[in-house]
């Protein structure tokens, strides 16, 4: 026995083959009442199958489409400039960019909503510290660190409520913030420093209260240990002395004032200095601990000690040499006899250490030819040389050899000077 659906399919097939609705209903008189409206509706719909657009309507449609296509082409050429990057990237790249943005947004949301114990909580702690990188004022930095410490304390409380455990990450971050706050407060005035210490002590109190109320022994131990560390930080901060000077401020100017008192540090007597290359030259040598210059023989004239008074910036005094006041007309006792400009000093200060007259005048054993040595150095104050320097090989060699241009200094004896 066929059901109505099967009979309907049968009748529809017959209608397609050309039978009429009446023929079908006559075949199934029992279902005729039910089939009749459906078959009539189908026949009515089938009547639409013969309809088509007329050639005129089709042509009119084509003309409209051509105009629409031309409009789109002109619009597209302008829009291409705007959307060319998107077209160039293509759908996969665009989808990847959208997915990346979505990932970043969701990740940021997950980090921001993380709680102690979550995988992203440590990231959140780190991210929350990021603004501190641009806080350089000590007061503001201390406040920011204390704020972070309070946030970590709130996190600890939240973790205790949810899992009955003290989150180690939050406790570590709390101590770190307390230490950083104390470090920043170290450079502040005493009142501000004590305020920071008081806030850290508040944290200690809260930690101890939490430790007393939490049931878990392990959590209580962690809280007590953290409270102990925080208390130590607060105690140390209270005990700190105010800084003598702000390290960021410049040093007081009075420490850099030079002394007016001339000392014996620069009382070396001028030494004769020969311009001739073959003349033994005594250069002042000042040894450490003995300010008295010692004449020495040095045939080279490449470098000379610069003994001119310097009109430069004042420098902090040192133990052995007292700088002169800038512009002070102090003449050093060392006066170059030649090749140096005379200092324009108006006041001369006598040397405090007078060099002893030389007992033995340094005399070269071999005189250079007059044509070579144009000028013999005449020491204004002869050093108390104890030994006479002697060139090992004189320029006026009897053998008639030309003098050596750079005779080496004689090793011994060196003229020494004992000055008082």
């Amino acid at each position: 026995m066929m059901n109505v659906a099967e009979i309907l399919d049968e009748c529809l097939a017959r209608l397609r083959r050309g039978e009429t609705v009446g023929d079908c209903l006559a075949r199934y008189p029992d279902q005729a009442a039910e089939l009749a409206p459906m078959l009539e509706a189908a026949a009515q719909l089938r009547g639409l199958a013969a309809h088509r657009l007329s050639p005129a309507q089709r042509l009119a449609g084509q003309m409209v489409l051509r105009a629409a296509l031309a409009r789109r082409t002109s619009r597209r050429s302008a829009a291409d400039w705007l959307f060319r990057p998107v077209q160039w990237m293509g759908r996969p790249a665009l989808a990847a960019a959208v997915a990346l943005c979505l990932f970043v947004v969701l990740s940021v949301g997950a980090v921001a909503a993380s709680r102690p114990g979550d995988l992203t909580y440590s990231v959140r702690v780190m991210v929350e510290r990021a603004p501190l990188l641009v806080i350089f004022d000590a007061d503001a930095r201390a406040s920011a660190e204390l704020y972070l410490a309070e946030r970590r304390l709130a996190d600890v409380q939240q973790a205790l409520q949810h899992s009955r455990s003290a989150d180690a990450t939050a406790l570590r971050a709390l101590i770190r913030s307390a230490e950083a706050a104390a470090g920043a407060a170290g450079g502040l005035a005493e009142a501000e420093r004590l305020q920071v210490a008081a806030r850290i002590e508040e944290h200690v109190t809260q930690l101890e209260r939490l430790a007393a109320t939490v049931g878990e022994p392990a959590a209580a131990r962690s809280l007590v240990e953290t409270a102990r560390q925080a208390r130590a930080i607060a105690v140390q901060l209270r005990a700190e002395k105010p800084p003598a000077l702000d390290p960021q401020r410049p040093a007081p100017t009075e420490t850099a004032v030079p002394s007016f008192t001339p000392t014996s540090a620069l009382t070396a007597t001028p030494q004769p200095e020969a311009t001739a290359t073959l003349t033994p030259e005594t250069t002042p040598v000042r040894s450490h601990g003995s300010p008295v210059p010692q004449p020495s023989r040095d045939a080279t004239t490449t470098r000379r000690p610069d003994l001119r008074p310097r009109q430069t910036e004042p420098r902090p005094p040192v133990s052995s040499v007292t700088p002169l006041q800038p512009g002070a007309p102090i003449t050093p006792t060392i006066r170059p006899t030649h090749m140096m400009p005379t200092p324009s000093a108006t006041r001369r200060v006598g040397p405090t250490a007078v060099p002893q007259p030389a007992t033995v005048a340094p005399q070269p054993t071999a005189e250079p030819p007059p044509g070579i040595a144009t000028r013999r150095p005449e020491p204004t104050a002869g050093p108390p040389a104890t030994a006479q320097p002697r060139p090992t090989e004189g320029p006026g060699d009897p053998g008639g050899r030309p003098p050596d241009i750079t005779p080496g200094p004689p090793p011994e004896p060196r003229p020494t000077r004992r000055g008082g």
């Binding site: 189908a42 719909l45 089709r58 449609g61 629409a68």
Partner: protein
């Protein structure tokens, strides 16, 4: 029975249309115009309105084709479904506009193509098309597409199933319920 449109035709024509190829657009129009016209004729019951709306469907197709993403698994079915969706939206807009225009005169009544010169027959056709369009309005879009595919486009159950992406069983069920509802509605409007 109209010649079925193959996947190869759609795969060949749609990308060219997206690039603005006029010949491809006109080829697509020739393939789909009569189908869309019959669908719209069934929906609005007026030949001139259906012809105008058919043109409008293809204008919208040109405007929206650059954003159309052809499904490479079933290209012909996906493009056809997209085109019929545009036509369905236009038919809905048409009925909304018509409802707002309450003072529709007798001369402005929808008409079917007057193939029969007899005025009585023409008037009967008008009334019949109007009732059919009103009855179709009460169906769901799936039911409408199934019975239009089956009886207007003379597709088999399997072709309708492939066109709409449904099983043949689902198509039979939709067809049965659609015919029941349509027959009942037509009887009501005819006063039987």
């Amino acid at each position: 029975m109209p010649t079925p449109i193959t996947d190869d035709q759609v795969i060949s024509l749609v990308p060219r249309c997206q690039r603005g190829d006029q010949a491809a657009v006109e080829t697509l129009y020739m393939l789909y115009a009569d189908r869309i016209y019959r669908y719209l004729l069934a929906r609005v019951g007026d030949a001139e309105q259906a012809a105008d709306l058919t043109t409008e469907v293809f204008v919208r197709m040109i405007e929206r084709l650059p954003g159309f993403w052809l499904n490479r698994q079933r290209p012909a079915a996906s493009f056809s479904a997209w085109l019929y969706r545009i036509a369905g939206n236009l038919a809905v807009d048409y009925h909304r506009r018509r409802e707002r225009l309450e003072h529709v005169s007798l001369e402005a009544e929808p008409t079917l193509p007057a193939t029969d010169p007899d005025p009585d027959v023409v008037a009967e056709h008008h009334e019949s098309a109007q009732r059919l369009a009103q009855a179709l309005q009460a169906l769901s879009e799936d039911q409408r597409l199934v019975i239009i595919g089956k009886f207007v486009e003379e597709m088999s159950n399997s072709e309708v199933a492939a066109w709409l992406g449904k099983t043949e069983g689902a198509v039979k069920s939709l067809q049965h319920r659609a015919l029941q509802a349509l027959g009942r509605l037509l009887r009501i409007t005819e006063g039987i």
